[in-house]
């Protein structure tokens, strides 16, 4: 078996993930390489969610009975865990949402309804990048259409990185918000946060970082990032679906208006008007995803017990190996950085003129799960003149043997359509 420096003890780790034992299609062992879409769930998280429903289920922040108090303590305990995980200065800066898309939409809507100095209107500009997931494009298109603000974006270089050569023309005195991904979901590129944040701060623009592909894979320190908002989702980091996070600087959360109204987010309500609860509750209208938050708390515990530095080191070793092995496959072209430097563990590629759908289908027959298509990042495909890609994405339980299986699988694909 291939040994690489920095690998985790995957033999032990994989025992935590029951699904990885699945056998598909007449005896093919599952090779799960679609982690950028969603990660698998360890027993510890499954148990935490089950135990919540079996022993503590109640609505939160209301009621005085034992279960209500336990459910509230578990839900708020999850907030503490997430706050510590991202090094948030205050637990009150952690807002639970249903996913990263909702977190991003929430910021767009806060700004759309905000008063000065945050207000986005026809005199102002919004900046994103061509590398974004659709969830960090469409909310800004909507905001731009509704307010008249101009939408601008950074383009991409041929090797899959942000082209910051014209940063001073893209981010200007008119810019109100710069929203960009920390790690590309399609190309794996890790973006240079500091350069963008510095320019944004110079012109007084707010910065929102989409950390959906970062939080699961590397230490995330919102204070070090110096952003104003950071969004990510639970289900890509060993947690359940239906739970996302928006972290925001406290003073902003105090100043900015709520978006969704309802129970939980209020202080007092009369028929003509209401006052609002302080953040984070101001932004959590209605019964929140309680069990899912508890599950995310367990996922954070799980990842913390392994250590995010160790996760990052493991994935870097796997990525380095995968990038090298994939380039040995004839006719294979990686879309994005072709080395493991400043790169995450999502690797997109095209294989000759074989359509990714066909690649994915033949790989599936061998038990290998990859993502095919435009990965909700169609502008990237347009930029590189391709209709779609095949994407293999790795996680803390991925092994060099799975990289080998992928490479063998791709040989099979070539023979099949050759």
């Amino acid at each position: 078996m291939t040994q690489l420096p920095g690998l985790l003890d995957t033999e032990a780790l994989r025992k935590d993930f029951p699904i990885l034992d699945r056998v598909l299609h007449d005896g093919k062992k599952l090779v799960y390489l679609d982690n950028a879409a969603t990660s698998q769930t360890p027993r510890q998280v499954i148990d935490a969610v089950s135990e919540y429903y079996e022993r503590h289920n109640a609505n939160v922040h209301r009621g005085v009975h034992v279960l209500a108090e336990e459910a509230t303590a578990l839900y708020e305990g999850a907030r503490d865990k997430v706050a510590a995980f991202i090094n948030a200065p205050s637990r009150d800066e952690v807002i639970f949402t249903k996913n990263a898309s909702e977190s991003l939409n929430l910021v767009a809507n806060m700004l759309g309804w905000a008063d000065e100095p945050y207000r986005v209107d026809r005199e102002t500009e919004i900046v994103i990048t061509e590398m974004e997931h659709h969830s960090n494009i469409v909310p800004w298109q909507l905001l731009s259409q509704r307010t008249g603000a101009k939408l601008k974006w950074f383009g991409l270089t041929d090797d899959g990185r942000l082209d910051l050569s014209n940063i001073d023309e893209i981010i200007t005195e008119k810019t109100k918000i710069v929203s960009f991904t920390l790690v590309s979901n399609i190309m794996g590129t890790v973006n240079p946060v500091e350069a963008i944040v510095r320019r944004a701060q110079d012109v007084g623009a707010l910065v929102l970082i989409d950390a959906s592909q970062a939080a699961p894979h590397m230490p995330l320190d919102v204070q070090a990032l110096q952003a104003d908002f950071v969004a990510f989702t639970g289900h890509k980091m060993c947690g359940p679906t239906g739970i996302g996070v928006l972290w925001g600087r406290q003073e902003l959360l105090e100043d900015l208006p709520p978006f969704l109204g309802g129970g939980e987010m209020i202080e007092t309500v009369s028929m003509s008007s209401s006052t609002y609860a302080p953040a984070p509750h101001k932004f959590e209208a209605g019964t929140p995803p309680i069990a899912q938050a508890v599950g995310l708390g367990a996922a954070v515990d799980y990842l913390t017990s392994i250590g995010m530095e160790n996760v990052a080191r493991h994935e870097h070793a796997i990525t380095e190996y995968a990038v090298r092995r994939l380039q040995e496959v004839p006719d294979l072209r990686i879309i994005g950085p072709v080395t493991a430097e400043d790169r995450g563990a999502a690797i997109s590629f095209v294989l000759g003129d074989i359509h990714p759908h066909d690649v994915g289908q033949v790989l599936d027959e061998q038990g290998i799960a990859v993502r095919v298509g435009h990965h909700c990042a169609r502008p990237v495909c347009l930029r590189y003149g391709i209709p779609a890609t095949t994407r293999a994405s790795f996680y803390l339980y991925s092994t060099p043997a799975e990289v080998d299986a992928l490479v063998e699988g791709l040989e099979h694909v070539r023979n099949f359509f050759g």
Partner: protein
Amino acid sequence: MKLDSMYQDVILDHYKHPHGRGLRDGDAEVHHVNPTCGDEITLRVKYDGSRIADVSYEGQGCSISQASASVLNELLVGKELAEAQRIQATFLELMQSKGKVEPDDAMEEVLEDAVAFAGVSKYPARVKCALLSWMAWKDATAQAMGDGAERKTA
């Protein structure tokens, strides 16, 4: 192997050697996309009265979607509209069968090469690939016949 039931030789043959590919003169043109995977087709129909004079197309996509367009061209060009609609309905029925319809002789007579897609109907994610060109044809025909004008995409 199960894969062979999807990737029949007939399908791979149409994929590698498509019939009637390329855009030619037409009465109506539509552009359809499959948003889940990015497959696209631009398709034109040319009618000579109620007879299909030509179906021309240009597109990008997987082997299933491209082969399906080729089969469509081969099957429908030269047919009367009513006959073509019967073929389209039969193909739709087969593709929506979830692999439960075993094509009989009668169906094979109607669908000819298109029966090869029976195996695709077992793969829900791929049914839309097989139907892309057929839905585009239906839409283009509706436009050419004057009912449903202006509708460009599904």
